[in-house]
């Protein structure tokens, strides 16, 4: 087997070379200046990854470049990461390279989808991630550089360069960085990973191919229904990709909204069910009323009605809605984050440990998780 392209090996340039410009000129940057890796920085990052520089963590599509620990370390240093972020970035890359996520498709698509990373568990606070005010940007080093490291790997190792293998018509700002933590400290709803069967003290990464967040404003309602009706409104459009391509989506409750909902005794399940039950389009809308020929739309489940006035859900089930509490304490805002479609499944993965939830299922008294 011959190795076609270069590896993250030492090569050298004359002393005094402008390294920021050098990495730009080589085409290794994401548009923003990178932090030039030095032997000391790469070594520290590699140590945080557990050594073994040549060990391949994953092959990243569509180029199928080998993401060795050294290559991962180099990209993380370039992004501006601290070594303590290493477990999160690695877990995120492993999650993205799981078959179900279909990273090959996400990288190449003409849709603007970008991987969204949500971190749960103690590691988020330990490394200083922002789950509060301005969690989606900007100002926080951990959020910004973890998301950026992922993007640099997708570009450099995965070959997902715009215009080349990444055909996204528009792109979106999340393709610079799109990483947050859930605001578990507020304790308003159970954390996402606990809903899915992990222990609260486990730390996890969740990745989903995502459009940008769509802000949902509601400064009037003081009950769950009113707040959720506004989110339903944001979901009930035939413009986002879920409407025409099915699949998964995310909903983010801002803390003020989450507090109102939690105070009324509603749980995660109630929120997801209310949203799913009420968010809808008509089939006629997604079929453009057959104006361009009779449309069936094989991307939508066969059980959706195909009459023009058939009321169809925005995603196939409440479990296709991934719910998080994120944000600062002031402001009655939430967000709807559409996904790419049925072509990609989100992945939830433990950091530094098993790939799935703990044995024996979630910790619920009667075996059903009503969180």
């Amino acid at each position: 087997m011959q190795l076609a392209a270069s590896q993250a090996e030492a090569s050298a340039v004359p002393e005094g070379t402008d390294l920021i410009e050098w990495y730009y000129e080589k085409g290794f940057a994401d548009g923003l200046p990178v932090v030039p890796p030095t032997p000391a920085k790469v070594a520290a990052m590699l140590e945080a990854l557990g050594g073994e520089p040549a060990r391949i963590e994953a092959r990243v599509p569509p180029r199928w470049g080998g993401l060795t620990r050294e290559v991962l370390a180099v990209n993380m240093v370039m992004a501006g990461c601290k070594p303590e972020y290493a477990p999160v970035v690695r877990a995120a890359m492993l999650a993205l390279c799981e078959t179900a996520f279909n990273l090959n498709g996400v990288q190449a698509t003409t849709h603007m989808a970008a991987p969204l990373l949500v971190v749960n568990g103690p590691i988020a606070r330990k490394i200083g991630m922002n789950a509060g005010c301005n969690a989606f940007g900007s100002g926080n080093r951990a959020n910004a550089t973890i998301g950026r490291a992922i993007r640099l790997v997708l570009l450099n190792v995965g070959g997902g360069w715009p215009g080349e293998l990444d055909k996204s018509t528009l792109g979106h700002p999340g393709k610079y960085t799109y990483a947050v933590a859930e605001n578990e400290a507020l304790g308003l709803l159970a954390p996402y990973h606990v809903e899915k069967g992990f222990k609260a003290e486990d730390s996890t990464v969740f990745v989903m191919a995502a459009e940008p967040p769509h802000s949902v404003t509601n400064h009037v309602a003081n009950d769950p229904q009113g707040i959720l009706d506004s989110i339903v409104s944001a979901m009930s459009t035939f413009a986002h990709n879920n409407a025409v391509s099915s699949g998964h989506c995310a909903v983010v409750l801002g803390p003020e909204h989450a507090a109102t909902i939690s105070k009324a005794g509603w749980k995660r399940h109630d929120v997801k069910q209310y949203l799913w039950t009420n968010a809808h389009n008509t089939f006629g809308q997604v079929a453009f009323n057959h104006r361009y020929g009779k449309v069936y739309n094989r991307s939508l489940p066969v059980w959706y009605g195909r009459e023009l006035d058939s009321r169809i859900p925005v995603v196939p089930s409440a479990e296709h809605i991934h719910l998080f509490v994120i944000g600062g304490g002031a402001g009655r805002f939430s967000a709807f984050i559409p996904g790419w479609g049925h072509m990609s499944s989100p992945v939830l993965r433990e950091i530094e440990g098993n790939a799935g939830p703990m044995q024996g299922g979630p910790r619920c008294v009667d075996g059903t998780c009503y969180l």
Partner: protein, 93 residues
Amino acid sequence: MTQVYDPRGAVGAQSRAIAARIPALEGLRLGILDNTKWNANKLLRELRDQLKAAHPLADVHYYRKESFSKFAAPELIEEIRRDNDIVVTAIGD
């Protein structure tokens, strides 16, 4: 000198040969693999009809992928391999 790094990682390029070519389509079983992208089905049905008109094929089978963006399931690939001599697939767009 100052050290610089290549962040791309190696691509392992093992070389794989394509299958043996066929001298003619006559008497062969044709498989059509539709990846379900928009209009792939219409294109493939048209092409199938044009191929049938031009060549006496033994049989034609039509398959649809579960998702246009994922690789075809190994079971589907095996079924196609078993029941066909040649395949046409669409669409990469």
